[in-house]
Amino acid sequence: MASTACFIIVGRNDIPIYEAEVGSAAKREDAAQLHQFILHAALDVVQDLAWTTSAMFLKSVDRFNDLVVSVYVTAGHTRLMLLHDSRNEDGIKSFFQEVHELYIKILLNPLYLPGSRITSTHFDTKVRALARKYL
């Protein structure tokens, strides 16, 4: 289980539509802001890397101290980004795939405007449960 992990979903217009701290360590205020800053800074790297491959899971694209950023890009160019300190790649890939399924279910909701924030508490609970399971 990772002790620190921050997960965000960034839509195609580079606006984050979902953020969650899913690590099991105690949350510190400054650490949370730092995590989000690292993830947003990694967006440029993701942009370049996304066009070089046709795979969805881009593995780790950036590092900061001992934290690693892993990214999963969907066909609609929605980026699922995870900041973590674990080395469990298979677990992270499965986590991304399950969150992708949940995200598709949110998209299938006709009342959801694509690109807007995901406010469903159900989605939030499920993502945290998946994080506990896979990370």
Binding site: R12, S54, A55, A75, G76, E101, Y103, I104, L107, L108
Partner: protein
Amino acid sequence: MGREVAESCVDTMLMEMVAMFSGRFYANKPELAARRIEAIGYQVGHQLSERYTMERPRFSDHLEAIKFICKDFWSEVFKKQIDNLKTNHRGTFVLQDNKFRWLSRVSIDPSSEKETEDPSTPGESKAAQAVSMYLYFPCGIIRGVLSNLGIPCAVSADISSLPTCSFVIRVKA
């Protein structure tokens, strides 16, 4: 992820949607009805594209995305593939379906039209206009799929010979 529904339900829903929009909501404004139907198709295409691209790797260029529509997407939605794809390599694609599923039950009686009406008058175009209302929804679906894959475009349909149906995609560069 999906459950199954009888195809007759889908057919009935499509007929009812067109009848509702062109008959009740926008009774004398076929352009507005067409735009509403196309917008519904856009959202459906948006959602379907996310669902059907989940397992496969992403697309490297426009042609790959169009080929995805012709093969995988068309077989998921219409249970067959596109029969003919033409392109001018400058942003225009023509997708030809030789037996478009949603138009397979539409009948146009050509003999009565030729005898009673002059082909160039509104008589023939009224029948063509009635059929074209049914095509705004699939055009919207295609536009929604391509927009979600990052390719803004305009889609129109051509029904010069039923049941063959051609969809013309113009990519907005």
